[in-house]
Amino acid sequence: MTAEENSGRAAPRPVLTVSGLSVQVATPEGAKTVVEDLSFTLNHGETLCLAGESGSGKSMTALAIMGLLPYPMARISAGSIRLADGTELAGASERALRKVRAMRISMIFQEPMTSLNPVMTIGRQLSEVLLEHKVCTRAEAPGRALELLRDVQITEAEKRLGQYPHELSGGMRQRVMIAIALACSPEILIADEPTTALDVTVQAEVLELIRALQREHGTTVLMITHDMGVVAEMADRVIVLRNGRQEEAAPVRTLFAAPETPYARELLDAVPRIGEAPARPAPDRVRHTVDVEDLSVRFPMRGGILNRVTAQLHAVEGVDFRIAPGETLALVGESGCGKSTIGKALLSLVPWQGSIRIDGQQMAGLSPRALKPIRRNVQMVFQDPGASLDARMTVGKQVAEPLVVHGLASGSELQDRVEWLFRRVGLPPDHMDRFPHEFSGGQRQRICIARALALRPKAIVADESVSALDVSVQARVLDLLRELQEEEGLAYLFISHDMAVIDQVADRVAVMNLGQIVETGSRDQVLRDPQHSYTRRLLSAVPIPDPTHLRPPVLPREGPVGSPVRPLGEDVTRFAMQEIAPGHWVADRAA
């Protein structure tokens, strides 16, 4: 809609001109150019998106504009960054930059969890910026801070002023960041992946807030994102970056309708879209690889003089599901809903109650020794491949380790088996002697998959396994997972917050809220015909990678958020499930 407004308006008025910008980073191998000869103009009131995969230089460009490049590793090596009045920012002194920051250009960051000072109240972090730039007097600051919090639609704004960042949710913290950024009414707001770390429902709300504030204050937004759905939703114009160079620059509709460069086309094609994934062959449901009944995971919360358990966090409560060989069950839900805890329970990484049968073998009540051979049958692939590999061990040894631990292979047999696994996940076996840092994110995830496959498991828990990967890499890793599934008849428990990815991989979907399943059924039943209000709300928040499609506002939450914490002895009310169509179960609305 803003695109039309722009064309109807007078000639675009540039507020920031970047020309020939190059940024170099010092590496042990010498200077590396991460942004090369980049030029663009930011016009008043518009939203320009810098889109690209990791390593494209998009964040470096934003930091260069703010003068916040990590010193002394990175520096602007050429080019100019000029504000409308001619102020040159490239190579400007810290003193000059301080006057520009917050006053003329503000920035919000990807990680709202870590971007606020943990030992300073929200109120003080807000008034600090006001006082620094003398926007108001010391006496007026608290009142102004409160107004700013109200502007960003934070609930219970007065209370927030005296609170510390850890008392606020991720979404609220990002709202506080936006309030700080807009405190001195800057002309330009740079948003560096502002919603990447947030739940999809919160993302939709924060994006809507940015749009509303932009309309109200006429702020120009430079948005940095890897998410083409967010691009489609927010941008007037897009610059696609790759390896520090501009690949394509176009108005958003033109780019999505007819990308000119092969890379932009590739990038757009790789974006998963809900409802476009082909139907999957029905798996054989005669037997079940994973059979979970009445699974509960409760974490004790202690207090009192004797530090006894006074309450319990009901992370997972009475969950049932089954996965057949070759079948993928996707678990979705917002952060904290218990989906990852279920994954951990399948591997007995957390204490659990109920019944878990893997390939027919009951895991409940077994000693660690008796559990060991059964555990082999279920393996996990984690979210962050960088953190789930030991940095000081060669990748070959790490893939071999499960085989050694279970005493399944040794000597040349071990060597052969590891080589085979490397080939199996599409890595050259001669890379076995390398260390994790020598691989890219996608390759590391392949190593993790090889490690998970080493024991020939019957089931794999994939906990946000592709969330940290770029879309093109993500698509290839998903292909690999599917291929392995078809060949080995693996059962997947696929945990993800990304609805579009789930749409691609899942046979069946289970939606979780507060530790319980609220809706479950086949992919088409749950994603195409959602019945529970929670599922509908989740789906309504998913950004659609199509700028011509206007996403309706996120559906409101039905009822209060609720808490999974209960005093000892008090149980969580379990939802009663009703089968509304064959295999499609929905929790009672009342629950």
């Binding site: 301080r98 971007s115 030992v119 300073m120 600090e128 620094e132 510390y164 850890h166 003089i305 004797l306």
Partner: protein
């Protein structure tokens, strides 16, 4: 909060009980006879036996220990074998000197340590940073009696800026406080340096810069308060380190504190004094840790006492 406090005090009492038992066992096993010490070399076996009976040293171990604990409950630490005075009185008389020294040493080590650490972190990898870190390494590794004697030689004997030993004026305090403080300085500067470097790389420091704040303000308001958090727990542990230092340092400087008292008592196997000083020191260590834990949530709002 109150529940936490009560539980912690209960735990502390258990710790003190354990310490008293271990110390008592060790002293019981010492292959020297306190009664013989008191009676002197020329005394007859009968005199020695009399003294032993008088002090209750002929009783079995558990009776001796239980009697000691019973007296302890009434605040009675026993009588010194040789000085013929109540141990509690001896300790009480010498406590102010030790507390003064302790306070001065903590001030020295915090001021020097935090400043050196902060400067080193801000000038990371410079020649200044490396010099400061070598200095801190030297202060950590040098034995305190060597540092004490060295300081005495340079500042008291050669330069004559400070008195050679004794107690009474501020000038008397400087050298022993610096001797004890230097060891802590080394630890604190290293901790502060790594903590500062860690905090300087945090996202919220970048946010502070993006707000257009000045460098000094960022360091004082955003970096330092966060960098100091891990050090607070260290101060509690430090009191233990300090207690081990005073025995040596008070003897070197002739400082009339409980360290010196302990030193003299150890030489003469004056068991009640050794026990008393050990228990009082243990109380300080336990109290130091408790205070550090109670202060932590005041400085870091994320910490909740449970």
């Amino acid at each position: 909060m109150w529940a936490y406090l009560i539980r912690r005090i209960g735990e502390s009492l258990l710790i003190l009980l354990g310490i008293s038992l271990v110390t008592f066992v060790l002293l019981y096993l010492v292959p020297a006879d306190p009664a013989r010490q008191i009676a002197g070399r020329s005394a007859t076996a009968e005199t020695v036996a009399n003294i032993r009976a008088q002090l209750g040293l002929d009783q079995p171990f558990h009776i001796q220990y239980i009697r000691y604990l019973g007296n302890l409950l009434h605040g009675d630490l026993g009588r010194s074998y040789l000085q013929r005075t109540e141990v509690a009185e001896l300790i009480e008389a010498r406590m102010p000197a030790t507390l003064l020294l302790m306070l001065a040493a903590i001030v020295v080590e915090l001021i020097l340590g935090l400043t050196i650490g902060a400067v080193a972190a801000l000038k990371r990898n410079s020649a200044l940073d490396q010099t400061l870190m070598v200095f801190s390494f030297v202060t950590i590794s040098a034995p305190q009696f060597v540092v004490g004697i060295l300081l005495l030689y340079v500042f008291a004997v050669q330069l004559q800026w400070f008195p050679i030993g004794g107690y009474g004026t501020f000038a008397h305090l400087v050298l022993p406080a610096v001797t004890i403080g230097l060891l802590g300085t080394g630890w604190y500067s290293r901790m502060m340096r790594s903590s500062m470097i860690d905090v300087l790389a945090q996202d919220y420091v970048r946010t502070a810069r993006a707000k257009g704040l000045g460098r000094l303000r960022i360091i004082l308001r955003h970096v330092a308060p966060n960098a100091i958090l891990p050090i607070i727990a260290m101060i509690g542990i430090d009191i233990g380190l300090f207690m081990s230092g005073i025995v040596v340092v008070e003897s070197v400087f002739g400082w009339p504190g409980i360290g010196q008292l302990a030193w003299q008592a150890i030489q003469r196997i004056d068991i009640p004094i050794i026990m008393g000083v050990t228990l009082v020191s243990a109380c300080f260590i336990v109290l130091g840790n408790l205070i550090a834990d109670l202060v932590a949530p005041l400085v870091d709002p994320r910490i909740k006492l449970k």
